[in-house]
Amino acid sequence: MDLAPVIDGFGVVLEPTNLLYCLIGVVIGMLIGVLPGLGPAATIAILLPVTFGIEPVTAIIMLSGIFYGAQYGGTITSVLLRLPGEASSVVTVFDGHALARQGKAGTALGIAAIGSFVGGTVSIIVLSLVAPLVASFALDFGPPEYTALALLGILLVSTVSSGDRLKAVIAACVGLLLATVGRDGFTGAERFTFGNLQLADGLDFVPIAMGLFGLGEILYNLEERHRSVQAPAVVANVWPSRADLRQSSGAIGRGSVIGFLLGILPGGGATLASLAAYAVEKKRAKHPERFGQGAVEGVAAPETANNAAATSSFIPLLTLGIPANATMAVIFGALLIQGVSPGPQLVTQEPELFWGVVNSMYIGNILLLIMSIPLVGLFVRILRVRATVLAPITVLITLIGVYTVNNSVFDIMLVIVFGALGYLMKKLGFDPGPLVLAFVLGSLLEDSLRRSLLIFDGDPTQFFTRPISGVLLVVFLLVALLPPVRAALRRRRAATRTPDTTPKELV
C-alpha cells in the first residue's frame, strides 16, 4: 500500500484551520450528543450553509467530527440521567445508570470514553486499510452495478430504520420522486415543476435536509415530550480502576469488531452495533444476571461498538458513493455541494480530501477523549441549558442559514414546507431518513437505470447475468421479500393459535 498519500493526509489535518474545525466539530458533536432533542443528522443538516464558504476537506472534517462526537456525548446523559441523548446510547442506560446509582458514574463515563476511543481508533485503522481496496474493486463498476447498489442501499436503510418497514420504503419512494423534480438530464424535459422557475433546476438538497431533519425534529419536540432534565451534582473520579479496565478489555475488543462490521452495512450503523455488542457480552458472560445491575462490560461494549460503527459507516460513502445511514446521506449532500462526488475515484483523485478526513478522526478521537475524561463536568453543566431556549435559536439559525445559501426567500419557504412534512412524518410513524437518502441517491439511481437499459437494449434480465449486479439484486430481492413473507406466516400461525413453545428464528 502506498503510504505517501496517507502521510500527506496528516499534513492536511495538521493545518491550523483544519485542526480548528476538527475541534469545533467534535465540540458541537459532544454538545448535541449531551442535549436531548437534536441528533447528529439534524445538526449537520442545520450547519450545511456554514460549509459553503470553506474548503471541502475542512467542511467534511468538521461535519464528521459532529457525527462521531455525538456518540461520545450521548453516553453522558444515558449514564447520569437514564436518558439517552442518542439512539445509539440506549443500551448504555441499563448498566451505565445502574453504576451511577451506585455512585460510580465516573467509572461508567471513564470506561465509555476509553472504549469509545479504542473502538474509534481501531475502526479508523481498519478503514484506512480496507477503504482503498474496496474503492479499487469498485472502480470498474458500470451503470448496472450502480443501479443494483443504489437499490440495495436504499432498501437496507429503509428496512433497518427505526419504525415501520413499509412506511420507510414509502418515504424512500417519495424521496425518489422528489429527486426527479426539475429538468431531465437526458431529454431536457421539465418534470413536476408546475411551471415554477425556481423548481426548474430541481429541489435543492439543503432545504430538504434542513427541513426534514432540523425543523421537523424541533417541531416534533415542541409537543413537550421530553422529561424536564435536572443536571446532577458533580461527577467525581472519572478514571476507571485497573480492575474495571481489565474486566472490560474483552468487551472493548469484541465491541470494536462488531461495531466495525455492522457499521459498514448500509442501514446498520451505530444503533444496531451497540445493541448487538451488548447482546453478545450478555450472552458470553459467566454471570449474565449482573447485566442491568451495573456491569462495566455492559457500558464498555455498546459504547465501543457505536463509535467503531460510526467510523466504519464512512466506508460505503467514501468508497462506493452510497451513504449507509441518514447522517451519511447529509454528509454526501455536503460533498456534492462542495463539488465533490463521492465514489470509488475519491481515494485516487482526491487523496487529500480522503486521507485528510480519515486521519482527522484520529485527532478528533484524541480531542474527544480529553473532553470526556477531564472536562466531563463542563458538559454535565450544559444540561442546565433549557431546550425551550435552544429551540427558537435553532429555528432562526435554520431560517436565516438556508437563506444565505442561495440568497433566496424561496428556500426559506421550502425549508418550512419540509419542516412541516418532517413533523408530520415523525408524527405518523414515517422515518424521514430513508426519504433524504433516497433523494440523494435518486438521480444516480435513475441515471444508471436508464443507462443500463440502453446498454442492455431494453432487456432487464441482463442485470442478473453480470456477476456483481446479479448478486446485489438477489440480495435485494431477499431483503425485500423475506420479511413480509415471514410476517405473513407468523400471523397465520398466530391466527390458527398453534401452541408453539419454541418459536424458531428463520434467516
Binding site: 419504525g163 412506511k167 418534470r191 417541531l219 421530553h226 426567500v409
Partner: protein
C-alpha cells in the same frame, strides 16, 4: 450476512438478538406478560424509550391510519398521471416519465399495503392539544418568511424568538424579552456586521 449473533431463541428466557435482518420484531413477546426479572432486551429498550417520552400521545386510530394510506395512494396516482404526461418511453428507450412511473406505481402498491395494515398500525401518534403548539410554531415561521423581504429580518426574528420562548416554551416574560433581543443582536453582529451576508435587514 452479518457477524451479529444470530441467537436462536431458546426455550429459556434469554434475549433474542436484536441484530440481523430485522432490527425489530425478532424477539417475540411471550404470551404471558409477566415482568420477568431478566427482561427481554428489545422490551427493555422499548421501556427506556417510553420513559424518555413519557408524555407521548396515544396511538392514532385506524381511521387516521387509513387516511394516511389514502394520502400516499393519492400522491402515487397524481405522480402516475404526471409521469404519463411526460412520455413513458419503453424499456428499450426510457423517456423522462419512465422512472417516475415506476416509482409512483410502487408508491400506489405500498399505499394499498398500508391500507391493509391500517388496523395493526400503532406507530402513528394521535394529534392532541399539544399539536397546536406545533401549528403555532409553524405559523410564526410562515409570518417570518412573509415579511422578511419587506421589513428585514430583525423584527420578525425577535418576535419569533419571543413567541417561542414565552408562549411555546413558558419562559418568564423577563427572560423571554431579554433572550429574544439578545439573539437578534447576536445574529445581526454575525450575519450583517461580521459576515456581511446579503440578508434583508432593516437597520
Amino acid at each position: 450476512m452479518t457477524s451479529a449473533p444470530q441467537g436462536s431463541t431458546g426455550p429459556g428466557s434469554h434475549d433474542g438478538s436484536p441484530a440481523g435482518a430485522t432490527a425489530a420484531g425478532t424477539a417475540q413477546p411471550a404470551a404471558g406478560g409477566a415482568p420477568a426479572p431478566e427482561m427481554d432486551l428489545a422490551e427493555a429498550i422499548h421501556q427506556v424509550e417510553a420513559e424518555e417520552q413519557e408524555v407521548r400521545p396515544p396511538a392514532a386510530g385506524p381511521l387516521s391510519n387509513v387516511l394516511v394510506a389514502v394520502a400516499v395512494i393519492v400522491l402515487g396516482v397524481a405522480a402516475l398521471v404526471g409521469s404519463s404526461a411526460l412520455g413513458l418511453g419503453s424499456a428499450r428507450s426510457p423517456d423522462s416519465g419512465t422512472f417516475p412511473l415506476l416509482v409512483s406505481a410502487l408508491l400506489v402498491l405500498l399505499g394499498l399495503g398500508l391500507v391493509a395494515a391500517a388496523r395493526r398500525t400503532e406507530d402513528a401518534e394521535r394529534f392532541t392539544g399539544a399539536s397546536w403548539l406545533v401549528a403555532a410554531g409553524l405559523a410564526t415561521m410562515v409570518g417570518f418568511v412573509a415579511v422578511i423581504g419587506v421589513i428585514g429580518f430583525e423584527i420578525p426574528a425577535a418576535l419569533l424568538a419571543f413567541v417561542w420562548l414565552r408562549f411555546l416554551g413558558h419562559e418568564s416574560w423577563r427572560s423571554s424579552v431579554l433572550i429574544s433581543l439578545g439573539v437578534v443582536a447576536a445574529f445581526y453582529l454575525v450575519f450583517v456586521v461580521a459576515l456581511s451576508v446579503p440578508i434583508p435587514h432593516l437597520f
